[in-house]
């Protein structure tokens, strides 16, 4: 079976794990992609949760600044933001280091990638989480307040669990965007899956084989994430009637 396949498509041998094959490189690239996606997603969630509460309960200045942040990030292409933040962050850190008398450093691709994509993700998460919080029935919070719950405890025990079920579909979407946006880091030269694939492809000239293989890897990540988020949503909706929150 495998041999006939190899005979029909000899370039498939290039996907082997050991070097002449490039399989290990692709999987290492995938590892890097997922690592950055996880980091950026986590950073985005932190920014998103803080920003959503800021937008809902913050003062007028906080709210307007957050509005500027979300508008700008959602209007400018990720690629441009990545370049601006990548250059600016590296520059600022190095200027700071030089001013303090240290030598310049090369910021690692992983850290820069997580920071940049995290800031982009944060802008989208703010909107998702804000919408989810707004969809929590007010009666629930009024009940909590009537029971004498302090605001932080009410946020933790009432708002958060109730808004989670509303937020999961949007957050699942954001996770998929995070995994796909890591491909953009190929353009600043970070060795994630897409760049590894391109290097393998251009040194072996087997473009189709490698790009299709990378496509399969990305698709696997997407499909597995879909199943995982389906489970999480089911868990978040436990104890709710079929129509969703508050119905």
């Amino acid at each position: 079976m495998l041999e006939t396949l190899l005979e029909a498509f000899p370039t498939l041998a290039l996907l082997a794990w050991e070097p002449p094959g490039w399989g290990a490189n692709l999987v290492r690239g995938l590892g890097n992609s997922i690592q950055i996606a996880l980091g950026a997603y986590a950073l985005g969630l932190v920014i998103g949760t803080a920003g959503a509460f800021g937008k809902l309960h913050g003062g007028p200045v906080t709210r307007d600044l957050l509005a500027v942040y979300t508008t700008v990030v959602r209007a400018v292409p990720e690629l441009v933001l990545i370049l601006i933040l990548y250059f600016a962050v590296t520059d600022l850190v190095n200027q700071g280091l030089v001013a303090m008398g240290y030598a310049r450093v090369q910021i690692s691709g992983v850290v820069a990638g997580i920071a940049v994509l995290g800031v982009v993700q944060g802008a989208y998460s703010i909107e998702v989480i804000r919408g989810a919080i707004l969809a929590v029935p007010t009666g629930q919070l009024e009940a909590a307040r009537a029971m004498g719950m302090p605001p932080l405890k009410a946020a933790w025990r009432i708002t958060l669990p109730l808004m989670l079920s509303n937020a999961i579909p949007g957050l699942a979407n954001l996770w998929l965007i995070a995994t796909k946006d890591t491909a953009l880091l190929a353009i600043v030269g970070f060795a994630e899956l897409t760049l590894q694939t391109r290097q393998a492809a251009s040194s072996t000239k087997a473009f189709m084989t490698f790009f299709l293989a990378a496509g399969v890897l990305y698709l696997l990540v997407t499909l597995i994430s879909g199943v995982a988020f389906g489970r999480i949503e089911k868990w978040a909706r436990r104890g709710q009637r079929d129509g969703g929150a508050g119905s």
Partner: protein, 256 residues
């Protein structure tokens, strides 16, 4: 003080204006006159790509959505698979697969080399248009599926009761109502499509992003071209948002 111009907003606007002035004075803009024609061409290329791929992508999205919403399984399954694959892989990878992958396969077939399409297939922009079109179709197909499904059944039943043929129902009732439902999302998807266009610079199409990269390489000026880029994209995004708001207001609001 009420409405938009509250005190803190005036202060923030003033700070913003000062920052813009500082950027204009202290950053280097002397390259701008020399590259102005190129920048104009780049913006034109970006807008052209956006309009063409959105239009054809939307045309493709209608059958994709319809097949998933109401088609038999042998149409629905391929449509769903297409949308999943497009939405599950990065656009950059699709673009490179088409340009480098297909682009390296095509010359091996003499029939293609001798065909009249060959002069176009040797250039980069057909691959860019194709990749962006199928990408938009994939995302929008999913939206249209929901829109077709969301049209109230009573409308279609009424049309059927009036003896309308199926194609007429689609053309006069189902499709207009579905597009009306999809319109707000369509605006968002168009902005996302605009934000996807700079990727074509990686396959040598000279859009506004490629122009900015060239300025950076020629002059070693880093921030100024990127700032200009950000401003251009923000303006185009603003125009898209305004255009769709106008369109949404023109379409009669939904019947209750």
């Amino acid at each position: 003080m009420s409405g938009f111009w509250q005190t803190h907003r005036i202060v923030m606007a003033a700070i913003g204006a000062v920052i813009v002035m500082l950027c204009a004075i202290y950053l280097r803009w002397d390259w701008l006159p020399k590259y102005l024609p190129l920048i104009g061409q780049g913006i034109w290329q970006t807008l052209w790509l956006l309009v063409v791929t959105t239009f054809f992508g939307f045309l493709l999205a209608i059958p994709l959505g319809l097949a998933q919403a109401a088609g038999p399984w042998y149409l629905a399954a391929p449509a769903k698979a297409f949308c999943t694959v497009i939405r599950g892989t990065p656009l950059l990878l699709q673009l490179w697969l088409l340009y480098y992958g297909l682009g390296s396969l095509f010359p091996q077939f003499p029939a293609i080399r001798q065909s009249e399409l060959w002069p176009y297939l040797r250039q980069a922009w057909p691959y860019a248009v194709f990749a962006l079109t199928i990408s938009f179709a994939g995302y929008e197909g999913e939206v249209m599926r929901g829109a077709f499904k969301g049209v109230p059944g009573g409308q279609l039943e009424a049309a059927k009761a009036m003896g309308m043929p199926r194609l007429t129902i689609l053309r006069r009732i189902w499709l207009p109502l579905a597009i009306q439902r999809a319109l707000p999302t369509l605006g968002g998807e168009t902005v996302l499509q605009l934000k996807a266009t700079p990727l074509v610079a990686t396959i040598t199409v000279v859009d506004i992003y490629a122009v900015a990269s060239r300025v950076r390489q020629d002059t070693f000026i880093v921030y100024e071209p990127l700032l200009l880029l950000a401003v251009v994209y923000m303006i185009v995004t603003g125009l898209i948002v305004l255009a769709f708001r106008w369109l949404e207001n023109r379409v009669p609001s939904r019947v209750a």
